[in-house]
């Protein structure tokens, strides 16, 4: 655990208490079983806003608390522990980051204040296929009159179905595969020509496929400069990756804690199964991975807060490492629970399903190994 400031400690403790009281895993299970397409509970989301979590990275000038990414990461780690489904990451971290990095003063004033107040859900729409590949953006935006017209599709947009505001990566020049020629647009969820299809995924969160058919936006909807979307997008994604990694760390840590408890209580052959050395060593290795992951996640968040040059590399590291650790932790959770872990009535399956989705979003370990190697020049 990083050395926390008093504010950060309070934020984490509040999150821990709230999650236990209001959003245990059972709450997520209930949401899932309800079949509600939104993928989150609006009442809980409202409470998050009331507690100020939606404004943790927002400047005080726009109604936020400016506690930084490490602070928000602490909250996400706690919500990740109980699989709390909410638009917090998408809205208060990802979309808010895009506005912070690329937004004009007017855009910040309009949108960041609403985000901080918990008044809207926001989303980032970047990928168009099943694999993360921001530079492959093909959705086009063409200058038309006093604005732009967007045509194309986006896939698996987290909170894309519920979002009031969508930050859309569009191609205004070049070919899919080019980093150059991208522009970010702020599009409202109810825009004419925008169709949203909610997806039912294994992790039961809110995703949507979006179709843009002649969606027209004003010139003021451009985030940053036309054609200058790539650096904003990349930096936004890195922050989203670090935040998601924090959530995944919490999910993995809880999977481990529950499993460790089971190792201590489940008996076979007249012994607690945790007395078997083969399981002890596996548990110790998993604990080692968790500790290593924690260091990466905290370092990435701190680098963002400090504006360090290596924030991108650390975000890739954190996302990859959190993915691998959560992968292992979720598999071990099922295996060490044996048959009961295979039942839908047990929570292990929920962790497993969430694990693979979180691994894939914003690039899996394979993607980030490749990126890390490129950043290191090999």
């Amino acid at each position: 655990m990083a050395i926390l400031t008093e504010e950060q400690t309070m934020l984490r403790d509040a999150a821990r208490d709230w999650v236990q009281a209001r959003s245990p895993v059972g709450a997520f299970r209930k949401l899932r079983d309800s079949g509600d397409g939104a993928g989150y509970d609006p009442a809980l989301w409202r409470e998050m806003g009331e507690m100020g979590w939606t404004g943790v990275i927002v400047p005080e000038a726009h109604g936020g608390s400016e506690f930084g990414y490490l602070g928000l990461g602490l909250v996400l780690e706690e919500t990740g522990r109980t699989l709390t489904a909410s638009p917090l990451l998408s809205t208060a971290l990802t979309a808010a980051s895009a506005l912070l990095i690329g937004g004009s003063e007017a855009q910040k004033e309009e949108w960041l204040s609403q985000i901080a107040a918990g008044a809207i859900v926001a989303a980032l729409a970047v990928d168009e296929h099943a694999h993360h590949a921001p530079e492959k953006t093909a959705l086009t935006a063409v200058k038309s009159g006093r604005g732009w017209t967007l045509n194309g599709g986006k896939a698996f947009v987290p909170e894309g179905g519920a979002a009031d505001l969508i930050v859309v990566a569009a191609r205004t020049a070049g070919q899919p595969g080019d980093a150059d020629g991208l522009t970010l647009f702020l599009v409202q969820g109810d825009a004419d020509g925008l169709t949203r299809t909610a997806l039912k995924t294994a992790d039961s969160r809110g995703y949507a496929n979006l179709t843009f058919k002649d969606v027209t936006v004003a010139e003021t909807a451009v985030l940053g400069e036309a054609g200058g979307g790539w650096p904003i997008l990349e930096e936004t994604l890195d922050r989203a990756r670090a935040g998601l990694a924090a959530e995944m760390l919490g999910t993995a840590a809880q999977a481990f804690d529950v499993t460790l408890d089971y190792l201590k209580t489940r008996t076979q052959f007249g012994q607690a199964i945790g007395t078997f050395q083969a399981l002890q060593h596996r548990a110790a290795k998993l604990y080692t991975e968790l500790e290593l992951t924690r260091s990466c996640v905290e370092a990435a968040l701190e680098a963002i807060d400090n504006g360090s040059a290596d924030a991108g590399a650390l975000a890739s590291l954190a996302k990859a490492k959190a993915g691998e650790t959560l992968h292992l932790a979720s598999n071990e959770m099922v295996q060490m629970h044996g048959g009961v872990g295979m039942t839908d009535a047990h929570d292990a399956g929920l962790y497993l399903k969430r694990a693979r989705a979180a691994e894939a979003i914003y690039g899996g370990a394979s993607y980030h190994r490749d990126r890390y190697a490129r950043l290191l020049g090999f």
């Binding site: 694999h131 299809t197 979003i361």
Partner: protein
């Protein structure tokens, strides 16, 4: 060898004459020929094919003819298998009775029991389920507690089983019960009874994959005729272990499959990930891991072939059986993980719009594969068995 060729010719003509043309499409899950009293046949040819094969005893090719089996030698059975594969025949009967119970009945049951149960298994009349695991006795199977009391003219059974495959579909159960509480392994007996006996209740368990192939099964004052005990009282553990060997063999040989449907994993990956200018999978990291997996799969297939060859050469049931189960589980799980990774988020669909049935099938198969290293003996128990029985390592003193 001449005889074998004669048998091949005969089998081939018979199969060509008797295999129903309507079964030439791939079998879907709800067309699986499990038989039994509750069976519903979507296509009557499924039942026709079962009956025709059963009439020759070829649903249990190597069992003696006197119990309804085919009376074939191992070599003839192999030829029959080849010929069935040649015409891509669907299985005529899928049956725990054939795969697991029958072989131990042949070895341990009395004559009356063999005459009673085996022919019905061959004909697919009775569908069997397996009452082994209990909530408190998973890997430690011999810790089972289901109580079986001698009531003079019958046994009285009380307790609970779990992970009973298709108990809700089955007609009869072969069941391990505790007949002596003062000993562990020597207090277990092996009994058979009808699932319609009063006091038997099976509740399906929903798995993380969404399917419910297993049940919790409850026994409340279930009366079982004494003639339905197999082998001697308190001697059921030997039968149980023997049956587990057949089960593991079956799980291993059958493979776990996934829903590949003919597509190799690299074809799936190419479709979703794309290729580079040299025709290689565009994600080189994934490509290296896919290649490693395909090589493991080949090594495994070659090992299964080798074990079979050794078996046929008369070397008996190989200790490698435990290896095969462990390796098969790992391999199928690795494959499923790679498939889901290759398909990306499109491979994490659960239902509804946006996903093809095949994609959803892969998601479900991936989740289901997690059970491979648990059911039929966990991988941990497999490794213990290899360490102790094959490698001769001892327990802690």
């Amino acid at each position: 060898m001449a005889d074998l060729e004669a048998f091949r010719n005969e089998a081939r003509s018979w199969l060509e004459a008797n295999y129903p043309p309507s079964l030439k499409t791939p079998m879907t899950e709800d067309e699986a020929p499990w038989g039994g009293r509750k069976a519903v046949y979507k296509n009557p040819d499924i039942k026709l094919w079962m009956d025709r094969m059963a009439s020759r005893g070829w649903t249990a090719p190597t069992w003696p003819k006197e119990y309804g089996g085919g009376g074939l030698t191992g070599e003839e059975a192999k030829v029959l298998e080849q010929e069935l594969r040649r015409i891509k025949a669907r299985p005529a009967l899928m049956s725990f009775g054939v795969w697991m119970l029958g072989p131990v009945l042949l070895e341990y049951a009395n004559e009356a029991q063999k005459k009673e149960y085996l022919p019905k298994i061959v004909r697919g009349e009775i569908r069997w389920c397996q009452g082994y695991s209990e909530p408190g006795a998973g890997s430690d199977l011999a810790g089972l507690q289901t109580k079986c009391e001698d009531k003079g003219d019958h046994y009285l059974i009380n307790g609970q089983k779990i992970w009973t495959s298709y108990a809700d579909q089955a007609d009869w159960i072969f069941c391990l019960v505790r007949t002596d509480t003062s000993k562990k392994h020597e207090g277990i007996s092996f009994v058979l009874f009808d699932m319609t006996t009063p006091g038997v209740e099976a509740r399906p368990i929903k798995l993380i994959s969404g399917s419910s192939p297993f049940c919790e099964t409850f026994f409340t004052d279930v009366k079982v005729p004494k003639a339905q005990l197999v082998g001697a009282l308190n001697k059921g553990w030997d039968i149980a272990k023997r049956l587990l060997q057949y089960e593991r063999q079956n799980i291993s040989a059958g493979g776990f499959g996934g829903t590949g449907g003919g597509l190799e994993i690299e074809d799936i990956a190419k479709k979703y990930v794309g290729t580079d200018a040299d025709g290689r999978l565009a994600d080189h990291d994934l490509r290296a891991r896919l290649a490693a997996h395909r090589m493991e799969a080949k090594a495994f297939a070659l090992t299964v072939r080798r074990v079979e060859q050794e078996l046929r050469a008369g070397k008996g049931l190989s200790p490698a059986t435990s290896i095969i189960k462990y390796a098969a589980a790992k391999l199928n799980q690795d494959r499923s993980e790679l498939v889901v990774e290759a398909i990306g988020l499109q491979g994490l669909g659960w239902s509804g719009e946006g996903f093809s049935p095949r994609e959803i099938g892969e998601t479900r198969a991936w989740l289901r594969s997690k059970g491979n290293s648990i059911e039929g003996g966990t991988s941990e128990v497999n490794l213990n068995v290899v360490a102790k029985r094959v490698l001769g390592l001892l327990d802690h003193q």
